[in-house]
């Protein structure tokens, strides 16, 4: 229980610090928001705890989430099963997947790390394969979405109840039943357990089956939470869940560990992420601090372990959790809840006078704008950010730039939830997943926050304005026309896209295919390869493409990091007859455009896009821009036209040898 105590202290420290520095952190609403976001991860962590205690590991749970989500969606939409039946079938799928792990691990005696590394690829790959990466299922009935998005009694997220039930069930299983005792014994000594008559293989198998089921349950809640089922659900969750379990004091060598510890670990991570977001500190700190926390708790634990071994054994029983310890833990949780409620009450009282004021049009303070890219590290968005910062400086706004590090719809929701709790004035989102984010954006609007979308749109009634840089159709057509021009209207070409499930790219490709069918019957798209936003992968894929399809005379990249990769592959192959075009940033492609490898790059001015988004946000919050306006003044961009609720940046631009040097972004 030592680790749990250390963690409880850390958790209290986090709460205290963030209550002091992060606006609206210590409120009831936020408390529940934190727990809501921890549910899916938590279900995985709960299932992983006994597995790690029994000396195993399961890396496939995140991928299982993706597969279960897709199967759930397909059964409901395509097979027209009732939602409840579909959910049951999804759970069954999880159990089936878990049994594959179980059989390979217990019958063929293959180490769990290897087996689940294999099924990690297998399950995710099947999810991609079944949906061709593109299909996503949405339009679920409201009663189902309530499970992930609604509020019981006006404040309690329903999935939290499910999670609490799950946590209690896992707790009882692990710490109060005969089964739990045997898991510990297996973890300490599988041979010793076998000699004690414990059916080791069956017990271990059960755990992997339960983990598969738990992952499916997490997937269903995830779908309800985001309103959409897609093959990339739960990407990377396995490592986060393992982090929570290990942080919670479960020994990776097996034997030791507790469910309360896992819960503490889980909350320590979620509170950290949420607090950083509300305090508008860089999200990267969460990884750095989580890593630090891991090392710190392990080291402290190790220090005490060696010290206590140096004194005579006191007969402490580390493998059982006493009711009194659970009571103390609950007390800590209740105390922190009271602390939060107390400050909430205080805050509400002190703000009561200003409540009406906040809703009025002119804010007395500088507008706080939360602006979110799809992925922070992507060069495309990095250049958008420059423009956004420029505009924020110009207008004197406070700009919070935060978002997922990689494409991740769930993370986007999380960030928006954080901003709602924090109470920003305007939220500006580049939407990764339309259906997923619209609910939470509507919620933001209901709380009086202005919402705009930029780069990629949400559902129209979920936002005030959309900054439209170019329509998917426009992009698709421009790219196709450019390809046709270079190839003289006939021949084969190939596309290297981002990830196979990237929504934007898939939409563009859809329009490209449509344009081909309509205008260029002799132009053939022979292959679409993924690059996962990785330049090196794009490079390798292109090398292979050129050999498999020697007749391809043009390769089109539709992701910013892919185009330089394609260009380098073409250049190194010395195939001067192959042309490269694509959607990318001028700076990334400049050398290739000059050397003639890349013929043209299609893109709007990303820097202006960021600039315009912040300017619109600023005007909205200051009240100078109202719904129905036909145009607006946009600083250095001059007067900008508005059509309905769409603010137009202008048509896509084609960069080539002649003009590319005029742009530096």
């Amino acid at each position: 229980m030592r680790t749990e105590r250390i963690l409880a202290i850390i958790l209290l420290l986090e709460l205290a610090i963030f209550a002091a520095i992060a606006p609206n952190f210590a409120t009831v609403a936020n408390t529940f928001e934190i727990t809501r976001l921890a549910v899916e991860l938590g279900l995985l962590a709960l299932a992983l705890t006994p597995i790690i205690i029994a000396g195993g590991i399961d890396l496939s749970v995140g991928s299982m989430m993706g597969l279960a989500a897709v199967i759930f969606g397909a059964l409901w939409r395509d097979a027209h099963l009732p939602i409840f039946t579909a959910a049951l079938m999804a759970l069954a799928t999880g159990m089936l997947g878990g049994s594959i792990n179980a059989v390979l691990i217990t019958r063929l005696r293959t180490p769990p790390l290897i087996v689940t590394l294999g099924t990690y690829s297998l399950f995710r790959g099947m999810a991609h394969g079944l949906t061709s990466g593109i299909t996503s299922y949405s339009g679920f009935p409201a009663t189902f979405l309530y499970l992930g998005q609604g509020y019981l009694f006006g404040f309690l997220p329903p999935q939290l109840l499910l999670f609490a039930a799950g946590a209690v069930a896992w707790f009882l299983l692990l710490h109060r039943t005969v089964y739990g005792r045997t898991f510990h014994a297996i973890g300490f000594s599988p041979e010793g357990a076998r000699y004690a008559g414990i059916p080791v293989a069956r017990r271990l198998g059960l755990l992997y089956v339960l983990a598969g089921m738990s992952a499916s349950a997490a997937a269903i809640i995830y779908v309800a939470h985001l309103g959409q089922a897609k093959s990339d659900a739960g990407t990377g969750y396995e490592l986060m869940a393992i982090t929570a379990v290990v942080l919670g004091g479960t020994s990776i060598f097996g034997g030791r560990g507790t469910i309360p510890g896992t819960l503490l670990g889980l909350f320590a991570i979620s509170v950290l992420q949420n607090g950083l977001r509300l305090a508008a500190l860089p999200g990267e700190l969460s990884g750095i601090l989580t890593g630090g926390l891991l090392i710190a708790t392990m080291s402290i634990d190790r220090y005490y372990a060696t010290r206590s071994r140096a004194t005579p054994a006191t007969g402490s029983e580390e493998t059982t959790v006493k009711n009194s310890q659970v009571a103390v833990l609950s007390a800590v949780i209740v105390a922190s809840a009271l602390l939060i409620c107390g400050s909430n009450w205080y805050l509400a009282r002190s703000l009561r006078g200003g409540q009406t004021l906040a809703a009025s049009v002119t804010s007395p303070h500088a507008p706080v704008i939360g602006m979110m890219p799809k992925a922070k590290g992507d060069p495309y968005f990095v250049s958008c950010r420059l423009g956004a910062e420029e505009a924020a400086r110009e207008h004197g706004d406070e700009l919070i730039w935060d978002g997922p590090t990689d494409l991740d719809a769930a993370k986007q929701n999380e960030v928006v939830e954080g901003w709602i709790s924090r109470g920003v004035d305007v939220i500006a989102v580049s939407v990764e997943n339309r259906a997923a984010i619209s609910t939470v954006l509507r919620k933001a609007r209901a709380r009086g926050i202005r919402v705009i979308t930029w780069d990629a749109d949400a559902e129209p009634e979920a936002r005030d304005f959309f900054i439209n840089q170019a329509t998917p159709q426009g992009i698709g057509e421009t790219l196709t026309d450019e390809a046709a021009r270079l190839l003289g209207g006939r021949g084969d070409f190939a596309i290297v896209t981002a990830s196979l499930s990237a929504a934007n790219q898939n939409e563009w490709i859809g329009f490209i295919k449509q344009r081909l069918a309509q205008k260029y019957p002799e132009l053939h798209l022979v292959a679409i390869r993924p690059s996962d936003g990785d330049r090196d992968r794009a490079f390798q894929e292109t090398q292979t493409l050129l050999k498999v399809y020697p007749q391809v005379k043009l390769v089109m990249g539709v992701a910013a990091p892919a185009v330089p990769g394609i260009a380098e592959a073409v250049r190194q192959s010395e195939r001067t007859d192959v042309k490269v075009i694509g959607l990318s940033l001028p700076n990334l492609c400049k050398p290739y455009v000059h050397s003639g490898v890349v013929q043209s790059v299609v893109l709007w001015n990303t820097r202006d896009l960021g600039y315009l988004a912040v300017t619109v946000a600023d005007s909205l919050s200051r009240g100078t821009l109202k719904a129905g306006a036909a145009s607006m003044e946009a600083g250095r961009l001059g007067r900008i036209q508005i059509e309905g609720t769409q603010v137009r940046l202008g048509a896509p631009f084609i960069f080539n040898k002649a003009n590319i040097d005029q742009f530096d972004w």
């Binding site: 009882l172 109060r176 039943t177 005969v178 089964y179 739990g180 005792r181 045997t182 510990h184 014994a185 300490f188 000594s189 041979e191 010793g192 357990a193 076998r194 000699y195 004690a196 008559g197 414990i198 059916p199 034997g255 030791r256 071994r309 140096a310 004194t311 005579p312 054994a313 006191t314 007969g315 402490s316 029983e317 580390e318 493998t319 059982t320």
Partner: protein
């Protein structure tokens, strides 16, 4: 040659050694005796540099040895062979024997041909027929011991410490070892010999040092010492009856094996009958598959031939859970790996095989569990602070009591004991013997597997001698002697 002066060592406030003086003369075999926990192992660790003494000095050939480390001790020619082989299971025999017998300089090139030849030579010297290229993990414990002896031999030891070397050896292998010890003695090597088997000490040792509770009791010549006197020195009191008296009451046949066998482990055509209240001793050389027989009866390596009957009914025991359901228990040979789960508490270990008995609808009842554990602790007078103490904090004898308690808690009618007193000190050994006799008197049918012939003869009603995977002969107690058991085990088919 080797002199220790007033060596003391405390572990976390517990005194392990206190002011020990010890000296070893070149060319002698010096026995080190004492009960478990007397401080023999700590003394060995200090000699080999595995731990540093808190105070005291060590001289080798009149030179002070400062800051002893395992590396340094090896360089000085101090080699040790422990109870458990300290080998690299995944490496080959040659690597184990000959690779690290020189200073481990990281960038030295390895001459494989030379190493292999050297390993072969060393193995030949102890007449062990082992290929240098075999992976150690695939060898039996006894053969691993041979590897270890060859390794020490190769290290050119001037001081050779043998810590319970014969515990896992067959009689013949042990004789072979004694011959090697004699040869090394003749070469002027000083041998420190530790064993619980007192006859070995009398056969081998020139002098003896007795330790008790970390203190030096006596160092004297072996000559003129008798076994009773030595035991008195070790335990501080005379043990009157080494083996308890047995009651003669026998019940019905509870376990019967008719030509049972298991192809995977090589046990075949095993036939015997076991009655309630009876102790059937099972003797045999290492490699005669005694442990494998126990594993077959307990369902770890299920029988696939012949028939096994429990209380008259033919049964198939496919796994330990079924064995337990039929009232069969097994106290395994490897206590630390199989007998108990070391980091778990006494209570958890006691109930691990009978969890159903301390639970309701699958939920554990901690009160009942503690009560059960307390009951057995009192009955066995297990020495522990509390039943919540991890088993790893107990001494070997007390661990064995916990292992025994686990099986008695399942309320068995048949109990298989595999080497129940191996590596346990004299006092605890007698206690366990008394327990076994009590259990048999209470109507339990017991299969007692042991390499300790006096133990077999002292405890059993009948003695089954195993050879090459099957029971060769079953002798009545009155007919059995060390001599004829050994002869049958070695292959002389003397009609019993």
């Amino acid at each position: 040659m080797l002199t220790l002066r007033s060596i003391s060592k405390n572990y976390a406030g517990v005194r392990a050694l206190q002011g020990i003086d010890f000296n070893l003369v070149a060319g002698e075999v010096h026995a080190l005796a004492g009960e478990n926990g007397a401080g023999k192992s700590t003394l060995v660790k200090i000699l080999t540099g595995a731990v540093a003494p808190d105070s005291g000095t060590m001289h080798l050939n009149d030179k002070l040895v400062e800051q002893n480390t395992p590396h340094r001790a090896r360089a000085l020619g101090i080699a040790a062979i422990y109870q458990q082989p300290a080998l690299f299971p995944e490496l080959t025999v040659a690597e184990n024997i000959a690779l690290f017998d020189e200073a481990p300089e990281a960038w030295r090139r390895i001459d494989w041909a030379g190493r292999r030849t050297r390993a072969r030579q060393l193995l030949a010297e102890i007449e062990a027929d082992l290929s240098p290229d075999e992976i150690v993990a695939s060898l039996s414990l006894a053969r691993q011991q041979l590897v270890e002896i060859a390794k020490a031999l190769g290290a050119g030891a001037r001081v050779l410490i043998l810590d319970e070397p014969t515990a896992a050896l067959t009689e013949r292998e042990a004789q072979n070892l004694f011959r090697i010890v004699g040869a090394m003695k003749a070469k002027g090597v000083g041998v420190i010999y530790i064993s619980h088997r007192l006859p070995e000490l009398f056969a081998l040792a020139d002098r003896i040092t007795v330790l008790r509770d970390g203190q030096h009791v006596v160092t004297r010549a072996m000559q003129g010492l008798d076994e009773a006197e030595l035991v008195r020195l070790m335990v501080g009191r005379a043990l009157t009856a080494v083996y308890p008296a047995r009651s003669a009451k026998r019940g019905d046949v509870v376990l019967e094996s008719a030509d049972a066998g298991c192809r995977a482990t090589g046990v075949h055509n095993v036939s015997f009958q076991l009655r309630a209240g009876e102790i059937l001793g099972i003797s045999g050389l290492v490699g005669s598959k005694r442990t494998e027989l126990a594993q077959m009866l307990f369902g770890l390596n299920p029988s696939d031939a012949g028939e096994i009957r429990v209380r008259g009914a033919g049964v198939k025991i496919r796994n330990p859970a079924q064995a337990i359901a039929l009232g069969v228990g097994l106290v395994p040979e490897d206590r630390r790996r199989h007998g108990v789960v070391l980091p778990m508490s006494i209570a958890a270990n006691t109930t691990l095989a009978s969890l159903r008995g301390v639970s309701r609808r699958g939920f554990l009842q901690f009160g009942r569990e503690r009560a059960v554990a307390e009951k057995w602790r009192e009955r066995f007078s297990t020495k522990a602070d509390s039943v919540l103490a991890p088993v790893e904090t107990l001494s070997g004898g007390n661990q064995q009591k916990v292992s025994l308690a686990r099986w008695l808690a399942t309320n068995p009618s048949i109990l298989i004991l595999d080497e129940p007193t191996q590596g346990i000190d004299v006092g605890a050994k007698a206690e366990i013997h008394r327990l076994i006799a009590d259990l048999a008197a209470g109507g339990l049918a017991i299969l007692l597997i042991s390499s300790d012939l006096p133990e077999i003869l002292g405890m059993s009603d009948r003695v089954a001698v195993m050879r090459q995977g099957t029971i060769a002969v079953i002798l009545d107690r009155v007919d059995a002697t060390q001599q004829n058991i050994l002869e049958i085990a070695l292959g002389k088919d003397a009609a019993a």
